[in-house]
Symmetry: C2
């Protein structure tokens, strides 16, 4: 049995669904192929359940402000872990249902349930069925990294695939890997009363390369739960429990959450068999502006591309791949200003160029502001953290930022939009900053940054002279 379509999309996650929307809009015939569980990684095991989990932890943790605010009785509060996990799953199910309702639920035979394998650059095989397509989009997503040897520890070792399925949480846990997910869930677990140890082989957390911000994150979050950095974790059995060792330190825990990143789902597609070379990371070479692999009729999008494993970028890649898969002319698109948020408290945010990308450049100025004295942060009782912003010394064009701040997710958008517009620090200082708001911390960082930049406009009063165009 053979079937012919304009476009075949492998994977019904965020990237695949966005690609499908473009193909539909272009009026092309298509199939969407997925052999796994439907619903996106984001809704099933990623952003959404983790945010619901964090929200519960944050609300429970907030009781520590009660004494300052003269609210009595906080010591009588208790969190029902098993029921809280149920609440998280309830919300998760709602979000997954929404994704399905908006996409695959009503699809007929354009949805093929099965795993695809390339037979040629224009041909796939799915459970014995041949599908010929003018163009093919690979959007197969990713899965959590889990060292093979650790599988022997069975259900004492969790990834995000099973974490939210836990009926309840044990008294002692270790979180191995302190990137976005490890840091978010590790802090939330600690706040829920689990004795958590956070471990990472790197010396930094959350992928932060700015050493000042990173040190502040480690110090502040390290006060909530121990962070062991710089040594890889080793696991061994300890009776019914697990012993986790990292360098000289060791701890016995009931379960381990492995949050060591995610791996693209590429191996079973048969790319090498059809002659596509894979690079050192096992990735097919592709252009991030067109999502095309070499000059083949094949496009790659979303987590599987291994580049920007976050939802809005997966969406963009899906759109680009879907657009190019359904138009004769291949178009290159500008990618967005990088924005990465870890929803720990305070938020960790990176925008634009990272410290490591700018390292060693002597034409870059840095400005910083600690949250300590910021009025609104003080009022909220959330004045830990630091903001660092980078700009070109000549002219002051904003280049990047690293934030560890309350409302960091919101400041991150303001910064990313400013960088999309190529604003300078002088432009930014002329924007409205209300009072009292956390944005004023950013304003203070901009003032500090401006001291290292040239090109201050005249007159130096942070207001634009009125021009005839304003009339």
């Amino acid at each position: 049995m053979e079937r012919e379509v304009d476009v075949a999309i492998i994977g019904a996650g965020t990237a695949g669904l966005n690609a499908m929307a473009q193909v539909r809009r272009a009026g092309k015939t298509f199939v969407l192929i997925d052999g796994g569980e439907l619903g996106t990684t984001c809704a099933r095991v990623g952003c959404m359940p983790s945010k619901a989990f964090i929200q519960v932890a944050e609300d429970f943790h907030r009781r520590h402000i009660f004494e300052r605010h003269r609210i009595e009785g906080g010591e009588g509060l208790s969190l029902q872990l098993a029921e809280a996990m149920e609440h998280v799953r309830d919300l998760r199910d709602l979000f997954v249902d929404r994704v399905l309702q908006g996409s695959t639920d009503e699809m007929g035979d354009e949805l093929i349930r099965g795993y695809a394998r390339f037979v040629s650059p224009n041909e796939l095989e799915v459970d014995g069925q041949r599908i010929r397509a003018r163009r093919i989009v690979i959007a197969t997503g990713s899965r959590p990294v889990l060292p093979e040897a650790w599988r022997a520890f069975g259900d004492r070792v969790l990834t995000t695939d099973d974490f939210f399925e836990q009926e309840t949480l044990p008294p002692r846990m270790a979180v191995i890997g302190l990137g976005v997910i490890g840091l978010e869930l590790g802090q939330a677990l600690a706040r829920m009363g689990v004795a958590v140890t956070g471990i990472d082989a790197a010396e930094t957390v959350s992928g932060l390369s700015d050493p000042v911000v990173s040190a502040e994150v480690v110090k502040v979050l390290g006060d909530e739960f121990p962070l062991w950095l710089g040594h890889p974790a080793e696991l061994s059995r300890d009776g019914d429990a697990l012993r986790v060792q990292a360098g000289e330190q060791a701890v016995t825990v009931d379960k381990v959450l492995v949050a060591m990143g995610r791996r693209p789902n590429l191996e079973h597609l048969g790319l090498e068999e059809i002659g596509i070379p894979l690079d050192a990371r096992g990735m097919p070479p592709h252009d991030p502006h067109t999502m095309q692999i070499l000059d083949l009729p094949i496009f790659i999008a979303g987590d599987v591309s291994g580049e920007r494993p976050i939802l809005h970028e997966a969406g963009d890649e899906g759109k680009i791949a879907g657009y190019n898969a359904s138009h004769d002319e291949i178009r290159a698109f500008r990618r967005k200003t990088p924005l990465a948020i870890t929803f720990c408290d305070p938020n960790v945010v990176q925008v634009g160029r990272s410290w490591s990308e700018l390292a060693g450049r002597d034409d870059v100025a840095v400005g910083e502001m600690r949250l300590g004295p910021v009025g609104r942060a003080l009022i909220m009782g959330k004045n830990k953290g630091i903001i660092r912003v980078y700009a070109e010394k000549a002219g002051g064009r904003l280049l990047g930022a690293a934030l560890f701040s309350v409302r960091g997710e919101n400041l991150g958008h303001l910064l990313a939009w400013a960088m999309e517009q190529e604003l300078t620090v002088w432009d930014a200082l002329r924007m409205p900053f209300y009072h009292p708001v956390i944005e004023e911390a950013l304003q203070a960082a901009f003032y500090n940054l401006s001291g290292g930049c040239e090109g201050r406009p005249e007159p130096p009063i942070e207001l634009r002279p009125l021009s005839p165009a304003d009339a």
Copy 2:
């Protein structure tokens, strides 16, 4: 005794201090004259203590989410009102001290304590002392409106001048005037357990002119405490208490907070005596871009100018007035995109042009998004509200917005900055929106808005084609 300076500044509040900084930078001689309590309105009786008060109320109110989040014991929480008021004053004192330390504390005879009166456009009298100045800045601020007849009710009638001095709060209150302050404090009082009635002669609250957003605010906040709209309040004695009547409705309360706006402190300056005509509102005519009064050597700035009684605008006016008072050439400056925030929960925010300014124009498109289904808002348990955005139909340039939304204060900045940059709805849709964040509600409102706008760029995939300049 006569004294001569380049610039005399009347008023040591936010506008006056900002003016002083400009005069200092220009190297001019000056005096700063203030007869009232030092420390800004903002720090003493405005933004800062009100935010501290609201924060306590919000933390206490949050116990209502506990059941959903499976946190037990919330019913055992109680708020110690008198101690909470002390906490608010402690924070307030900290902020006032900071203002003083950063400004008047170290000043010698450049600070004159007393009330100034114009003798001529270049001459002031302060407690018998004559001060000749080449230029004069009026930055005398404002005071709460309090109907004369109500003074008879003594300390049963409060304004923000005495509200934060209350040792504790009585069981029953009315808040008369539901602008920014009335809405913020009214809701906070209700959340702290005071039986509050909110009353306004207008049919809307918080100065909102968008009828859809206004209706939503009235509905949602009206569920927290009764809002009586459309009738002016009348007060009468009721034993030891006060009877408050508005239209057909009446309530007996222990105290009344009058929040009917603020009046510029102009009367005692003697402006008319030196020949300055006052308009119907009692204001001297001035140019909001130069802050100059007519073509006199007199400038006006801050709340007293009666235009934009919020801190960052008072700061801008102070800068403009101070700059122009210390330079020969009078310069005109562009004023910022209007941004007004009421820090109730959800926040009420107006950005750019208001609904009433755009009323009747058929070249304006409106987009809206309710917070109900927004993922992150749902997770936070804060998904009440609505966002409305306005743009030019031809081309989609953003014109204004009215928001009633969690994190509205942050979205307001994003919108105000976008309008400062004159972004179109198409530009805005190409900006990064992370997931899951409240900014996605704004994104949805933009999508909705774009349906009514022309000028959608090709290709329609919310990504900018790569240009040679990006290389």
